[in-house]
Symmetry: C2
Subunit: 311 residues, 2 copies
């Protein structure tokens, strides 16, 4: 008998999504960072939801403010990945009756602070009893009609970029990251990107989703991948590169740019942001195949996979 | 130290909501069945979210299809209460890794069936690991701008109505109810209602929310309250009337109509629906006070309260 553990998260979602017809007013359904739906007027709506579960997305060491920050940061990162403007959010909080009221208030303080910084307004939600603490955040954003950045759209020859640095997020960044909302909107509004997504399940795993949806492959320059200092601090026998490829919860942006625009993008980026943006590889024709290229130019298949729930 | 149990659901929400400024593009924020936000064009957006938690909203006897039905039914009932047209939904499913893939598929079959019947389209969501099964559904609906039915708006003299019958929902209806989407839209579109909400936490408790938001009171005619057959079948020493007042999860509509429109409403309703709609009382000036009137005309304060999480 197949269980969620044996079937896995992605296969389960793929099977469920396949049974659901996509009507005309839906531009992007299940499978991207956010859904894109049409609405009369000049904007499309972006819809996204993310869970934050005790023992999975945070543990007993996390402060209530960090929990609130991460819950909101996750949906903001989804909206950023589509190049969207955050609008409204709802939060369902499920918590044991013994939970201190003060703890819930502090979680909301974390929610409020990050949401306000990005113009996201909390307009509702629900509070219910549960065995452990879970937050489920639902967010609405918008983009000018037809302009949402998607995972689909990369073409062979496109240059692959990533913002910030990757790996070792569990040492702290996963509770304190800044969602790349400004950067995502800037990239989308400038018409720079051919495809974009955020890195939540690890560069290797998420890049495979982008490649799969675009029907292309990629050569990653191993030495160019920006490993975070935290990725080097984890002394568990695995290299910083492996952490950068596999760890997940970086909440950086991964995107591709047409080869003729790449130089102009790098220059414009440097003028707009202090955050670094690194060229890490190139899109190829080798459908859904991911290669790592070492400093001598030797190519090998990238064995790394991203994070999967249930496994 | 205050906990969720000692402070209670409503007081916690009230405290959290009070700290959140409501910007201009939000018509209705926290505290109604759904949030109402402005959007350029002819429609307002309705946003709502509801959890469905194992051991709280359903138990081991519920079939997967019933679980899916109830999860979607709850948000549809919220949209119905605002007179809204269902548009899109996202579902977060949190489940233990040992969960059978087939069980998740069956839950989605229940989701799909009810959603399709009301034109609600699933466009995304998330699947994550958790100790017990939880579904969190987010839904978007719409109403012509400025026309959403609200809990606020009842005036002294208005006639109080309820659809269907109440009480004993735990014997089965809570897993199989039909959300009153058509009826809610009809009531809103015809301009019949001065205030409306759905009954999820019991007539007595929910009516108090409507009275509180409208700044009025009500006299309920005890003998007129439509008790469901299931409310009589529960042989637990409490009367059918007590069950109808307190049980919750009826998912019927509770609404008020101006006294001069009441007769016309009753006639138009009878022409439009087979579902019954019962006049159960009248709105009074006695702010937030709920009286029960017996068949001899004797008034007493209604002691019944609605369901509260955490208590």
């Amino acid at each position: 008998v197949k269980t969620l553990r044996t079937q896995g998260e992605w296969e389960t979602i793929r099977k469920l999504a396949g049974r659901w017809p996509v009507p005309k007013n839906v531009r992007v359904g299940i499978g991207d960072d956010a859904a894109v739906v049409k609405w009369p007027g000049r904007h499309d709506l972006l819809l996204t939801s993310d869970p934050l579960i005790e023992g999975v997305h945070f543990d007993a060491q996390a402060t209530p403010r960090q929990i609130g920050h991460k819950a909101i940061g996750r949906v903001l990162s989804d909206l950023a990945a589509m190049g969207g403007e955050p609008m409204w959010a709802l939060i369902n909080v499920a918590a044991p009756p013994r939970t201190k009221a003060r703890r819930i208030e502090e979680i909301y303080a974390g929610v409020r602070r990050l949401a306000a910084r990005h113009g996201l307004v909390l307009v509702g939600g629900d509070l219910a009893r549960s065995r452990s603490l879970q937050l489920h955040v639902f967010a609405v954003g918008r983009v000018p009609a037809g302009t949402a950045a998607r995972r689909r759209g990369s073409r062979p020859g496109d240059v692959l970029y990533v913002t910030g640095s990757l790996g070792g997020s569990r040492l702290g960044k996963h509770l304190a990251f800044e969602p790349r909302v400004r950067e995502g909107r800037w990239l989308r509004a400038g018409g720079w990107v051919t495809a974009m997504m955020d890195i939540s399940d690890g560069l290797a795993g998420d890049l495979r989703h982008l490649l799969g949806q675009s029907g292309v492959g990629a050569d990653l320059q191993a030495a160019r991948i920006p490993c975070a200092p935290a990725a080097r601090r984890l002394r568990d026998g695995r290299s910083a590169l492996t952490h950068a490829l596999c760890d997940g919860e970086d909440f950086e942006l991964l995107f591709t740019v047409g080869p003729r625009k790449a130089a102009a993008l790098e220059s414009a980026w440097a003028g707009a942001f202090r955050l670094k943006c690194t060229r890490i590889g190139v899109i190829t024709r080798s459908r859904s195949t991911l290669y790592l290229v070492d400093e001598c130019g030797v190519k090998r298949r990238c064995p790394a996979r991203g994070f999967e729930h249930f496994r």
